[in-house]
Amino acid sequence: MELTLNHFLFVSGALFAIGLAGVLVRRNLLVIFMCLELMLAAANLTLVAFSRFNLVDGQPAYDAHVLLFFIITVAAAEVAVGLAIIVALFRTKETTDVTKVNTMKF
């Protein structure tokens, strides 16, 4: 069986759905954060897949592969910031449960 674009998109969609579900239902901030990363990975996978199956002069294009390295680098920086925020939050609230972090509301 040959791998087609649809296979990749299916995996990516599943990953994204799992990530989204995790973000929406889990309460631990760290888990939510990991799910968020999962969603990002799903998006990256889509990007690469589209690029790989985009034939230019009969040859696959690899532009997105290069782009991906930049995205991963930036994502790493973003993760560092996100984790720092979570640590700061834990220091003040002594919890990582998002339902306990709800003072900014009506």
């Binding site: 973000v23 929406l24 239902v25 998002v98 339902t99 709800n102 003072t103 900014m104 509301k105 009506f106």
Partner: protein, 607 residues
């Protein structure tokens, strides 16, 4: 130097000095005062050079400022003729003497730099009025003298009365200036030009006499404001809150005479509008009378002089309304009055300075021996003001009265004669109470004669007050002369008899009533309260202001408040109460809503 360069130098030099002082030299007050005085002297020299041309109109360059093609072209240019040469001599000579006097009078003032910058700015603006060759330029500088007058009246701005007086002067002048502006526009509509020489040519062809009368009356409105004629005279007495040299220069000799000068500049217009000319004569006469009556009962030395200035300005304005001979007589009186009134004001400044800023004449007394030079120069100035024969004021006043009689202006003539009875009375009262008798307070007792920097200007002005009517002084001043004044006053007629009677009766009565008194034996509350005109205006303003305020309050309460203020507030509140339901505080709810919204947007975009 050619006249063009001279004129530009006279105009721009004081402006440069004012700018230099205000922008850089403010901290070095000694330097800025000397710089300002030096520039005034230089301007005087330039004007003397400029005056050599007699009545010849010199061609000067007009620089275009706003050019609207055929319709309107505004330029900055000069009309250097006999009239402006004479006026420039007055402005710069008195300007220089006042600068000199101020070096002494304002020696220890902390705002000295600002004061001298104000004087220089005034000199610049006044030069612009006098030399202007068109209405638009004159109007611009007309406003500029208003500004410099405002700055100088309010020099001691931390004193509430001075700040109020400055504001009052500016606001009252705005009323007159509005008329002036309307008048300029009307004249432009009627004649198609704002240049004096072109208007003079075109005015004969104006068919609509009624509109021309209205135009001239509107232009006269400017003179009513600036020259403080009834009913806009109320600002001038209050303007005495400014430093006394300023009162001498601006509020006695030059700026307040700008209205008279302007009428003389456009005398061809006044001559063409008979009704307006009569109104001008009557307004002047009424001002002269009312101001003289008010002066009878004032106790502040500067206020007495202020009302006498009003009264004399009334004479000059009256003269502008009685034909070309009258117009020249009015300018003649302007010249002589400028010298002797500047002298009287500077003299009163010396008295006030010597008495430690006491201005009430009933708290002076006996100053004759303490301040001999001031006393004698003051007496000479008074002599000129009350028209003692052979002094300058005598000739110029006779010229006006003769002109009025000659042109059959009986009403104004009679009023002017009555004023000639009142003037000697109140001036003699002032001199007797302030200088004779014995000192009534300690300050007056300890007064010392002022220094030479202050009495030298007094002496020079006293000389001019005596002799400025004679041709060796008045020659360059009266270069325009339609009439020979010495011929006019040469014959001994009805006017001379009446005014000499007025002089003798006035002085005699004042000596009789006031000799050796320590209190005012006469009390006329109506005159002392200045006919309650100020109170009337205040009431008028209050009534109208209250009505306007009430209307605005109503609109505010029932229209603007609900529609502009309340409605948006209620709308925002309602919207807020809907949207705040979504603010649960739970991050995951936000994420969910965000996701739903993104899906919604994508759905919307794809279908």
């Amino acid at each position: 130097m050619d006249p063009n360069t001279l004129a530009w130098s006279v105009l721009l030099l004081p402006l440069l000095v004012a700018a230099a002082i205000l922008l850089g030299l403010k901290r070095w007050s000694g330097l800025s005062s000397l710089l300002s005085t030096g520039s005034a002297l230089l301007c005087l020299v330039f004007c003397i050079l400029l005056a050599k041309g007699g009545d010849v109109v010199v061609e000067t360059k007009t620089y275009p400022w706003i050019d609207l093609g055929q319709a309107l072209e505004l330029g900055i240019g000069f009309q250097v003729d006999g009239l402006s040469r004479g006026m420039m001599l007055i402005v710069t000579s008195i300007g220089f003497l006042v600068h000199l006097f101020s070096l002494g009078y304002m020696k220890d003032d902390k705002g000295k730099s600002r004061y001298f910058a104000g004087l220089s700015l005034f000199l610049f603006s006044m030069t612009g009025i006098v030399l202007a060759d068109n209405f638009a330029m004159m109007f611009i500088f007309w406003e500029l003298v208003g500004v410099s007058s405002y700055l100088l009246i309010g020099h001691w701005y931390d004193k509430a009365s001075a700040a109020d007086a400055a504001k009052k002067a500016f606001l009252v002048n705005r009323i007159g200036d509005f008329g002036f502006m309307a008048g300029i526009l009307l004249v432009w509509i009627l004649t198609g030009s704002i240049y004096f020489d072109e208007i003079a040519k075109a005015v004969g062809g104006v068919g609509n006499a009624q509109l021309l009368n209205i135009a001239v009356l509107c232009v006269f409105g400017g003179a009513i404001g600036k020259s403080a004629q009834v009913p806009l005279h109320v600002w001038l007495p209050d303007a005495m809150e400014g430093p006394t040299p300023v009162s001498a220069l601006i509020h006695a000799a030059t700026m307040v005479a700008a209205g008279v000068f302007m009428l003389a500049r456009v005398s061809f217009l006044v001559g063409a509008a008979e009704f307006a000319a009569h109104t001008i004569a009557w307004v002047g006469a009424i001002t002269a009378l009312l101001a003289a009556l008010m002066a009878l009962q004032q106790n502040d030395i500067k206020r007495i002089l202020a009302y006498s200035t009003l009264s004399q300005l009334g004479y000059m304005v009256m003269a502008q309304g009685i034909g070309p001979v009258g117009s020249d007589a009015g300018m003649f009186h302007l010249y002589t009055h400028a010298f002797f009134k500047a002298l009287l004001f500077l003299g009163s400044g010396a008295v006030i300075y010597a008495c430690h800023h006491e201005q009430d004449i009933w708290k002076m007394g006996g100053l004759r021996r303490k301040l001999p030079i001031t006393f004698w120069t003051f007496v000479l100035g008074t002599a000129a003001l009350i028209a003692v024969p052979f002094t300058s004021g005598f000739w110029s006043k006779e010229a006006i009265l003769e002109a009025a009689l000659h042109e059959k202006m009986t009403g104004p003539y009679v009023i002017a004669i009555i004023v000639a009875f009142l003037t000697p009375f109140y001036m003699t009262r002032l001199v007797i109470v302030a200088f004779f008798g014995k000192a009534r307070t300690k300050d007056a007792d300890h007064a010392h004669e002022v220094g030479p920097v202050m009495w030298i200007p007094l002496a020079l002005l006293a000389f001019l007050a005596m002799f400025s009517a004679y041709s060796f002084v008045s020659g360059p001043l009266l270069a325009r002369g339609h009439a020979d004044f010495h011929h006019l006053v040469g014959h001994f007629g009805l006017t001379a008899i009446l005014s000499l009677t007025g002089l003798v009766v006035g002085v005699g009565a004042a000596i009789h009533f006031y000799k050796g008194r320590d209190k005012d034996p006469i009390s006329v509350p109506l005159f002392r309260d200045r006919f309650k005109i100020d109170e009337f205006y205040l009431g008028l303003v209050r009534v109208f202001q209250d009505a306007v305020a009430r209307a605005l309050d109503f609109a505010d309460r029932f229209f603007i408040d609900p529609l502009v203020a309340r409605f948006p507030a209620v709308a925002a509140l309602a919207a807020g109460s809907v949207f705040r339901v979504f603010h649960s505080g739970n991050v995951q709810t936000y994420a969910f809503l965000f996701g739903v919204a993104v899906v919604g947007v994508i759905f919307y975009l794809l279908t």
